[in-house]
């Protein structure tokens, strides 16, 4: 997965002079996850900028450069440190086009590794997608596979609006997958049915796509047919694909790693409860992280927080037999 991210950025840097990278340790260190490994040698320190430790200004400088014709890719080292960017990303970038009545564009990408299951403890495991997805004017992308990551990141760089690009850090090394040699992009704003099925729709994104896919494969042996929808883009959300799936299956399970209350699953469930109500054969169920402040460090506590294939399978089973 990390290779897909790296290749996408490198190709965009090579393709378009307006693209540049800024963030902490993106230069000689190559990024703490090596997303920009070797870039400073290849593109020079004018285009690969090691910033001071100051997230608010990383976002603000990226925004200023974007308003002035560039296409910055800002790396926020961990999503847990992204709060100081809200003033610039939610407050300013999201509203730049609307607030100028279309006079300016803010085509920046803010990439950040998020999510847990990597022994990151409270402050290297957080999920932040719900915050960004509640900000009209921003686009929010959270790919699950290397193919999607590369194609969506390239689309994000080319997009004329600010895009928050969320990379689940557990997928960086865990998830492998084919990525074509030839140039391609994946459009922002389209969910994908990753597995077709007829009994229960499971709607999810990011790392959970893989756990849900495994659960679906296991349950197939018990003749429970799961349709797996990967949102891929969280905002603007592809409601049509979600609704179509639920209309077909009549049952919906929404899954995310993020804590439950106020999470993105509420939005998905609400859309279903409103737009597919007449097709529902059971409650819209959410399976999500527990409502504790964040994911603890010690192994058993971390495991308790994280969803996994077993927890997901059990939830699907319960819903299927409703």
């Amino acid at each position: 997965m990390i290779e897909a991210v790296r290749d996408a950025i490198r190709e965009e840097l090579a393709r378009d002079e307006r693209v540049f990278v800024l963030g902490e340790d993106v230069g000689r260190r190559g990024g703490v996850f090596l997303a920009t490994d070797g870039f400073i040698e290849e593109f020079g320190e004018n285009r690969i900028i090691d910033t001071p430790l100051a997230e608010a200004s990383i976002a603000g400088i990226a925004l200023g450069a974007a308003l002035n014709g560039m296409r910055p890719i800002a790396e926020i080292q961990f999503a847990d440190f992204i709060w100081p960017t809200f003033n610039q990303l939610l407050g300013e970038a999201a509203k730049a086009r609307y607030g100028s009545n279309g006079k300016v564009s803010a085509p920046l990408v803010a990439r950040t590794p998020y999510g847990g299951g990597v022994r990151g403890g409270l402050y290297h495991s957080q999920n932040v997608e719900a915050f960004f997805a509640h900000s009209p004017g921003l686009k929010v992308v959270a790919p699950a596979t290397p193919y999607d990551a590369k194609g969506l990141l390239k689309s994000a760089v080319r997009d004329d609006d600010p895009v928050v690009f969320l990379e689940h850090k557990r997928t960086y090394r865990l998830v492998r997958g084919q990525v074509p040699d030839e140039e391609y992009t994946v459009p922002i704003g389209e969910a994908e049915v990753k597995i077709e099925g007829s009994h229960v729709s499971v709607i999810t994104y990011g790392l959970m796509v893989h756990h849900c896919a495994e659960a679906a494969r296991n349950l197939a042996q018990d003749d429970i047919s799961v349709e797996l929808v990967d949102l891929r883009t969280l905002a603007p959300m592809d409601r049509a694909t979600v609704i179509d799936s639920v209309k077909k299956t009549g049952k919906a399970l929404v899954v995310h790693e993020d804590t439950r209350t106020g999470g993105l699953g509420g939005e998905v469930a609400a859309v279903i409860a409103e737009e597919a109500f007449d097709h529902l054969d059971g409650p819209v169920v959410r399976l999500a992280g527990p409502d504790v402040p964040a994911m603890p460090f010690s192994p058993p506590l971390e495991a308790e927080f994280m969803l996994n294939t077993e927890k997901i399978s059990a939830a699907i089973r319960r819903l299927a037999s409703y």
Partner: protein
Amino acid sequence: MDHGQTGPSGEQLLEMYRQMVLCRTLDERVWMLNRQGKAAIVASAQGHEACQIGSVHALRPGSDLFYTNYRDLAVLLSLGMTPGEVMLGFLAREGEQMSGARQFPLHGAYPKLGVVNLSNVVGTQLPQAVGAALASRMRGEDTVVIVYFGDGASSVGECHEAMNFAGVHRLPVIFFCENNGYAISVPRHLQMAVEHVAARAEGYGMPGVVVDGCDAAAVYEATSEAASRARSGRGPTLIEAMVERYLPHTSDDDDRRYRNAGEIEAARKRDPLRILRERLLGTGVLSEDADETLYAEARRVVDEATELAESASYPGLDGFYDHVYADQTGGAPSP
């Protein structure tokens, strides 16, 4: 201070004065319209005109970039925004240039004038200006970016971050602090432990210059020097223009709660229009008659602007959903 070599010519000063008169006349009018219930909100530029106009004249409108603050009516007029356009903003009418009347007056963007003022959020313009300077330099342009902010804004974390980055990368930015000694009601001694914001410049590796912001010529010179420093790759400068705010913070404020009449009286003594007027009369560049004419002309222009705006309609609802994203009706083209 020596106004010789780098100082503005008499002609330039006269033009600055003309713009100051126009700004003051317009500013007084919008304040009046607020009191009549016609303009929802006004942040007056009165007292700040000299530093705003003096700084603009030292730069290159058309290629330089101006990250303005909400109190910068004089900057905008000096750059060529028309009183009619300004008035459309204060009355929130159709045809408003910077935000389509979606925002408070003077907020949004005016790309043709090199103006960006995305929001009301104090301090956010500072890192944006630094990013704009970075972009220009990456393309090899010799643009200078000036960013205006208040003494209150100097306390915001993003101000520190912006200055630090500009210092590290020696970016062509002029940090222009309009220090009027108040952030709404909060006076200097509760805002900072030092006399001058400029005292911070050294810690960012840039010069910090304190200038009398009521003296257009002095501001012109300080800004000229900062601009040539920036253009020649020597990096940013922090200019602190000491000015006075005689009026309440905005039309929503009641400054009697925190300032006494004597203090305001004293501040009024430093009226930049009076100071420049006396100088121009003294050097014979301006006559009493010509001054009268300038004011009469300003009143005429402001009357016209008011009529224009009052007869304009409010924006329709057709475009309400436009410009949320680029790929919607009317979205801005990619830059």
